[in-house]
Amino acid sequence: MLGYILRRLFYVIPIALGVSILVFALVHIAPGDPLNAVVGADAPAQVVEKLKKDYGFDQPLPVQYVRWLGRALVGDLGLSVVNNQPVTSALAVAVPNTLMLAIVATTIGFVIGSLLGGLAGYYQGTWIDKVATGFGVTGVSIPHYWLGIVLVIIFAVELNVLPATGIGPGGSDGWQFDWAHLRHIILPAITLSVIPCGIITRTVRATVAEILSQEFVQALRAKGLLNGRIMLHIVRNAAPTVLAVMGLQLGYLLGGSILVETVFNWPGTGYLLNDAIFRRDIPTLQGTILVLAMFFVVLNLLVDIMQTLVDPRMRRS
């Protein structure tokens, strides 16, 4: 077991290196000079040369990569070319906001998805199954950025009961646990939750149906066990798969909340990324993507390890 975990940990290293190379390469597939965001096209040549040196853009690519990676490893992602502030300090504000949104959305998705999927799997073929399955398909087919707009129209514009944008009252940029902030997270979290909702509904339905078709359930029934007790067995058997899917979903939402954050002006990583793209702020773009991708890699690793601990049969090669 320990050996497996160590091997799995070791396997993360090449993946993480590959990810860092890909993120670094993004700058160099970008058209134009990354300095264009800092100085105008008519800037004097000496100024451009000096800036190039300051940002390290005059070095050969492999040197730039190794330097960038070395700095990134000790938590230095460079300076934003827009406001000259460290990228890490912008991320320190944005990451918790995105994390908050993603965790709330995954939780909503998990609760609703497990409930619907469980019902659908248990009452296979009935109308309950059809409604829940239909809900699942809708969840994965709906353009969630559009759902966000529709929810804003209904609850903010027409009913005027919830705020349309922002993370808190009066341009607040950080999360706090009070009703004023809680009101702001309701719509974006529901919007973001439809994807995990749909996927978890589908997963739970398939898992429950599969477990029900196994012999041990019939044995339990034959033993005269009540439905409630049988449920307990089903939950225990379905839990590893469902938890794994949920963990991965959290990772997807961390990286995938950019559209929802744009709709709701949520000051998280997606918003930061969007801003960086349009201002051509390459260091911020690189840093944000690197951090989000690493979150995903680590989450994947944790899910794998946890799954193996719960159920050694799950060991992935």
Binding site: G18, I258, A293
Partner: protein
């Protein structure tokens, strides 16, 4: 939004497919004919494709013609019965024309990825060994990104434009398709009759052509159709962010973006383009599900 990781397809009835060879397609057709949901949504997919192709015939107005005095007219206005957008262009015409770019940008990446990822996966699965390792480990790196993030990162770095958006989405869909192709090919390769063909001296090319492709293509194709729905949502999402289609081209995601300012004035109008994306993506998804169960493929 994400591409559900293709769980290791341990149970694919390749053997069954092969046995049924002659009656297989007849069986599939018969199953489809009985599946009303798939037929209905298949009809909608066809309808969306047709109205996009024939947009220039059906559309009542020029989709680019703006009008200062007819801005943001509500749904039901005479002459513009789906209203007009923020620059006074006819919504119905723009929605009809919008299907062209939205469908193109949704379907093309999946086709490209099917060709590239499918080939890579079949090679990896068939050759095995070091080639497999190099190909599949490279795919793993792309897999380490959530799909939305990867699409936005690449097209964000490349800049706005239809070509860049298609390119970035293609790169997003290559790894999952390669993975499915690889695992199905590996399974088929180890089946007894492929061994028998190899033992009787068939060349690698012939084995791939005759034995592997016929069994693998169906599975990859079905998996690819399930990606179209995701691809349409992502493609329109890129345009919604300002990374795909540029104004004034009509495209559903971009229209959704430019009409956002109208949600206080004319909310119904602002929501219309999203309805089109939703209907199209839902229909593709259900048709894919229907085809999958009709063809009895489990990936």
């Amino acid at each position: 939004m994400n591409i559900s990781t293709p769980a290791a397809p341990e149970t694919i009835d390749v053997a069954q497919v092969a046995v049924q060879s002659r009656g297989y397609w007849a069986t599939v057709l018969q199953r489809l004919r009985r599946d009303r949901v798939t037929l209905f949504f298949g009809g909608i997919v066809l309808l969306v494709i047709l109205i996009s192709v024939f947009a220039d015939v059906i559309a009542p107005h020029d989709p680019y013609k703006a009008s200062m005095i007819k801005r943001l007219k509500p749904v039901g206005t005479e002459g513009h019965w789906l209203g007009t957008d923020e620059t006074g262009r006819d919504m119905l015409s723009r929605l009809l024309y919008g299907g062209r770019l939205s469908l193109f940008m949704g379907i093309m990446p999946v086709l490209y990825a099917l060709a590239i990822g499918g080939t890579l996966g079949i090679i990896a699965g068939f050759v095995g060994g070091r080639v497999n390792m190099v190909i599949m480990r490279t795919m793993d790196v792309f897999y380490a990104f959530p799909s939305v993030l990867l699409a936005i990162a690449i097209s964000g770095a490349l800049g706005a434009g239809i070509g860049n958006a298609v390119l970035s989405l293609t790169l997003v869909f290559i790894p999952p398709l390669a993975r499915v192709a690889e695992s199905v090919t590996t399974q088929v390769r180890n089946l007894d009759y492929v061994e028998a063909a190899r033992a009787s001296g068939a060349s690698a090319g012939k084995i791939i052509r005759v034995h592997v492709l016929s069994n693998v293509l169906g599975a990859i194709f079905i998996y690819a159709t399930s990606l179209i729905s995701v691809s349409i949502i992502l493609a329109s999402g890129l345009s919604f962010l300002g990374l795909g289609v540029r104004p004034p081209e009509p495209e559903w995601g971009l229209m959704l973006n430019t009409l956002r300012q109208a949600i206080y004035v004319n909310p119904l109008l602002a929501a219309l383009p999203g309805v089109m994306i939703f209907i199209t993506s839902l229909s593709f998804n259900l048709v894919s599900d229907g085809l999958r169960s009709a063809m009895d493929i489990r990936v």
